[in-house]
Amino acid sequence: MTTRTLAVVSAGLSSPSSTRLLADRLADATTAALRERGVEVRVEVVELREHARDLADHLVTGFPNAALRPVLDTVAGADGVIAVTPIFSASYSGLFKTFVDVLDRGALDGTPVLLGATAGTARHQLALDHAMRPLFSYLHAAVVPTAVFAASEDWGAGGVGSELGARIERAGAELAAAVAARPASGPADPFADVPDFTALLSR
């Protein structure tokens, strides 16, 4: 049986971070739902904070350094992606967007993606639908219907059976279904799809 890879991207900045907390719970829910379907899962967590300087260097030099390259490969080669960002100034954080900006073209083409966001108050939750969703539509990702927002207050009333817990379960089940429905994806190979030159000539 093939093991599926789940890339979990967290753009939280503090430690411990509620963004990471939400990301982990989404990953757990997805993993559990996949295991119920008899699918083995390997979870690869990407903490963007650890790559803040690598990402800034990439903006300037135009290439990923040796620390960032495997991270980009992990996300591009994943069978499913969980992407969670804090909401800053009405949108995803700059660090999160920088990561998206340096993804290789086509990296998330058709990849099932579950979106999550955190903020201090519930007044920011529409950022998931007015900022995150359009961004991933542009990337041609297959975003699952349920996106999960957690405000600070949700952690107080949280736990199994709570509203946040139920949303996490539902979102995890949706991502698991989408991942299980697709053939396993391999590592990205930029040389795999180069047409033979005679085909290039006759275009």
Partner: protein, 363 residues
Amino acid sequence: MQFGVFSVSDITPDPTTGLAPTEAERLQAVLRIAEKTEEVGLDVFALGEHHNPPFMSSSPTTTLGYLAGRTERLQLSTATTLITTNDPVKIAEDYAMLQHVSGGRVDLTLGRGNTGPVYPWFGQDIRQGIPLAVENYALLRRLWDSDVVDWEGTFRTPLQGFTSTPRPLDGVAPFVWHGSIRSPEIAEQAAFYGDGYFGNHIFWPADHTRRMVDFYRRRFEHHGHGDADRAIVGLGGQVFVRKNSQDAVREFRPYFDNAPVYGHGPSLEDFTRETPLTVGSPQEVIDRTLGFRDYVGDYQRQLFLIDHAGLPLKTVLEQLDILGEEVVPVLRREFAARKPAHVPDAPTHESLVAARLAQEVTV
């Protein structure tokens, strides 16, 4: 193996003085650097083509034509010639002309150019970059290889009964290298024609260059031009060298930190580790450069970028002295000792004429 330098012709203020050369000063400096390249015993000088400030080299054949008259052995090349936005008819004419003027001492490296506005300024669309490179080069080859050309394509007005003049010197077109940092389609193009592949080898990590060159070599063999290790590979590279390593680092750091392309990003140490940039003693440059062979195989041409980021002319000429006296003689000896006999040298006009004569004899 050929060694040389390539210049992108940027006019950049010297970060240690804040002063930038005038266009006229920078242009004269580039001419002086090219002449010095021959004086110190290097083989190749290649010049970029740009159509926007802060670059001054819009018309490389004018510059290289002058240099042809000022030098005797120097191979004149480009880095790169824009195959997307130049009319291939004009490239065919200009470089055949330069071939005659220089007595065959010319080859060229084709590139697409990555400056967005240059495409519309020349009536093209950057999204058509690859199709433009493919069609324009197909026409360029026909213009050089056939005396009379009937042609119709997508991007240019058709030609009926057209003869590009002057005809290539001795009936042999200049050798062509194809340069691309990250498009495998261009490596495929180089392989298809049996042309050279030139890896920029400045801005990206060694592992990326390794994969591009490996792909080109495999495709060269696939397209029937001979074994993969006979493919023609050139590499860029970037060095700053002083007798003592610490002096090189201290002197180059402000230029690195403020460089137009990668400045204000990674540290000099990070960038040295991540890319082929080497800042240090002659021995360090020798060791690092010999190491390129470990991941691209035996290759034919090594060009160094030494005159950018506001480095003063005096410093650049000193760099050439050190390269010519202490670095390149050792590299020549060491690369030659490692190269198997069946691996060809970089094509020259003489070798291409000889190959053509040999072919005519067998036919």
